[in-house]
Symmetry: C2
Subunit: 464 residues, 2 copies
């Protein structure tokens, strides 16, 4: 059943007829939206990055945007879609932004419980003749980018081999049987991407394109070429004009991040002395040694998010006057926070800030460009006092979780706490997240809104 | 040495002369500022309260304000004031707002290291003939209100008996010897309040007024009466017009809070089964039972923060046309979060939202009123997923800290995590905090600013 999808499509069809009859052309109203998403980039992540990159009194570029709003992140229960959940994942939160529909965790462009496809910004743009680009440091099939072009019941179903009882991680089984083309579904996420007609798609995730298309003996990558995509896999290939459709896949899955903790260290448990066995307030505690952030040796010659974004902007404007929609995601602010790697998150937030410089520069010469910067959901990391506020008491006070003590370039120590669970990977949190914009957002965006309203803002800006 | 104080005072004196000579009168430019501070009210606290009070899709009154900004909270090291600290306490953060000067934790209206007094908004207002009110649910001598009228080296020096090697809590010794009047200081905080000339001061903290004034045999409370204060201690006494100066002290220290967890419960440690002794991922885990919030039986007949604020507004406007500055603090959002009492914080954030209704109603009939709502620093609480995002794995994943699982009126479960330390009281965090305003702040307040700039905004609005 694709009821919702069909209903909205019919409305658009009528609108398009009307627009045609009164002579509105796309070129006449050329407007662009650049939606920059920091995955997990809540105010804590921004503060952590600011403290390190420009100092506590400094301003990141995103801090200097003229408009700030806050976003209520909404999620519902798959079994009872009337019931609120208070913490999102990247699939349901990106679906909110891409479709305006609140759904349950793990879902990509489909409704909670009823599994109906809902029209997304890529489809709406294409129906209006507007070009579309997607850029990310994750797999291009990962939840955030996928929500802008795909419809599938589970985010893990990223390629044709991951559709039926697929074990994504140890014990985590995903199943999208109902999305198989054999069952009148749209197939896996990578298959949907190569059919989507997205003009530019740049990121990681090559491993999701090497399997054979469902019911075929050609790979998804070959199908991409058949669909008119130029495929690039190396940074050097990004340079110059490409024309036509461009698919860049620069790593097997998530692209390596720019930075790591000194010697590859991440957050660690404070160590308590022997006496602590008898009572938590006996003995002493040693906090992890402070560390600097350093280049990640695995980063190699990855293209930066800024370079990919510049390429995407060039491709989307080859014909000069047409509007476009471009989504750019710095994905590993989140992924590094899951792994308690504060330096990794900081470097990826720096990547996002560099992208914003690219976008603002573009908007200088293309003033009808609305730039939005937001996060999809909150994350675990918190800045703790360097010394506990109870330090006068001679007791071993420490975080019950894990901490990274980062030496900041301004000569101080920043303690970053990860304490949402005792597992190998931290949890998201349910805090409202920031939404920032350039001057085109001023007066257009309320000071507080729900995440699905971001969809409406983009849609209204591009199509109204 | 009070160098800074004297320098600014001299400037003001010249300004006042100039203003007098060109005929500027205070009544001609009647403008009011109501600064509402939620202690520890970061975006997580707001989200937690919103989810409970109006549902995840609802809007608090503060969510509906037209202007949102974010505030960089700045703190420096007492021993090396050039060095940043990344987490504030309520003393140094309120000093930022009240004086525009960044100082070290624990300091009230004095500089880090050099211990110089810096002029505050109360003193500036009084020099301009502008009335001043202070309302709080904490002791009126606690760090946040104190920073607006007092100058002392340590926030704990709240009364004449707490000035020299005073043990505030077990093991926590405060000492303000240099602030003794005998040492040419200004004395304790309560002594400074009764000398301050603040027009209305309402809150808790009676115990800080019963001791004798330094070098005298009359109590601070008697001195308040001698200084022209009408002293009230019961809610019923708040009603009606008072005229003159008003001091309300409704509890011995912090006023009791409105709400508590069911049966007085707070956040609790998840319980793991026997097998967990051998490995954290063996066995099973039982999360604390969900609970509702309920009335706190100790609240008694405390005046609400809204009622105190209404009284303050009435007193500040008895002569109709003069400007005023009113600071209102909901103090126990923070204090309850320290104690891991999510329901307590929610109830006190509700109190703040009710105050905002009072302020907005006042501004309806007094349109030259700038209303600011902000927090002084971040706090520990985080919203975690109801079920871990790794629930498909059959392992006992749980917060390493303590959690409160709150049954929300919209029929869901909100898990609030407290995991900044293993001590009896949680830590503050270093996140940037929100600043909201009514329409008079639109175009006047940048989308991101440092906390001392709040001082400048208030000063410029009232005096420029």
């Amino acid at each position: 059943m694709k009821y919702r999808f069909i209903k909205i499509t019919a409305g658009l069809f009528i609108w398009t007829l009307l627009a045609g009859s009164i002579g509105i052309s796309n070129t006449a109203m050329a407007k662009n939206v650049i939606l920059i998403i920091g995955d997990g980039m809540d105010d804590h992540q921004i503060t952590i990055a600011r403290n390190y990159l420009v100092g506590s009194r400094g301003k990141l570029l995103l801090d200097q945007l003229p408009m700030r709003s806050a976003v209520q992140v909404l999620t519902v229960d798959e079994k009872n879609p009337q019931r609120a959940l208070y913490v999102a994942d990247s699939a349901n939160s990106a679906t909110s932004m891409a479709t305006g529909v609140v759904t349950s965790p793990g879902r990509i462009g489909t409704t909670a419980g009823s599994d109906q496809d809902v029209i997304n910004l890529v489809e709406l743009s294409q129906r209006q003749g507007i070009k579309v680009g997607l850029v990310t440091t994750s797999s291009i099939t990962d939840a955030t980018p996928a929500s802008f072009y795909a419809h599938v019941s589970e985010r893990g179903c990223e390629n044709p081999n991951a559709m039926v009882e697929y074990e994504k991680y140890a014990g985590i089984i995903v199943d999208c049987s109902q999305d198989l083309k054999a069952n009148e579904g749209l197939g896996s996420i990578s298959e949907q991407l190569v059919k989507s007609g997205v003009d530019v798609a740049l990121g990681g995730g090559m491993k999701h394109f090497t399997a054979a298309m469902e019911g075929s003996n050609i790979s998804v990558l070959t199908e991409a070429v058949n669909q008119g995509y130029k495929v690039v896999t190396q940074m050097d290939e990004l340079k110059g004009q490409h024309g036509g459709k461009l698919l860049g896949l620069f790593s097997p899955s998530t692209m390596p991040v720019r930075w790591q903790g000194q010697g590859g260290r991440k957050a660690e448990n404070p160590e308590t002395s022997f006496m602590n066995i008898f009572h938590p307030m006996l003995g002493s505690v040693i906090y992890p040694e402070p560390m600097r952030c350093e280049d990640n040796p695995d980063y190699g010659d990855m293209p930066s998010l800024a370079l990919m974004s510049e390429t995407a902007l060039a491709e989307l404007t080859t014909d000069g006057t047409k509007s476009f929609f471009l989504m750019i995601e710095s994905a590993s602010i989140d992924k590094q926070a899951h792994e308690r790697k504060a330096c990794g998150s900081i470097g990826e937030l720096q990547q996002l800030d560099e992208v914003l410089a690219v976008a603002l520069n573009f908007a200088n010469s293309h003033p009808e460009t609305l730039i939005l910067v937001t996060a999809d959901h909150g994350h675990a990391a918190q800045v703790l006092p360097e010394r506990t506020i109870y330090e006068a008491l001679d007791v071993p006070i420490h975080s019950p979780g894990q901490v990274a003590r980062i030496k900041t370039p301004e000569g101080a120590i920043m303690t970053v706490n990860y304490a949402t669970n005792n597992f190998v990977s931290e949890e998201h949190t349910g805090v409202n997240v920031p939404l920032l914009s350039n001057s085109n957002g001023v007066g257009r965006i309320p000071a507080m809104l729900t995440q699905p309203e971001i969809f409406t803002i983009v849609k209204d800006y591009l199509f109204d």
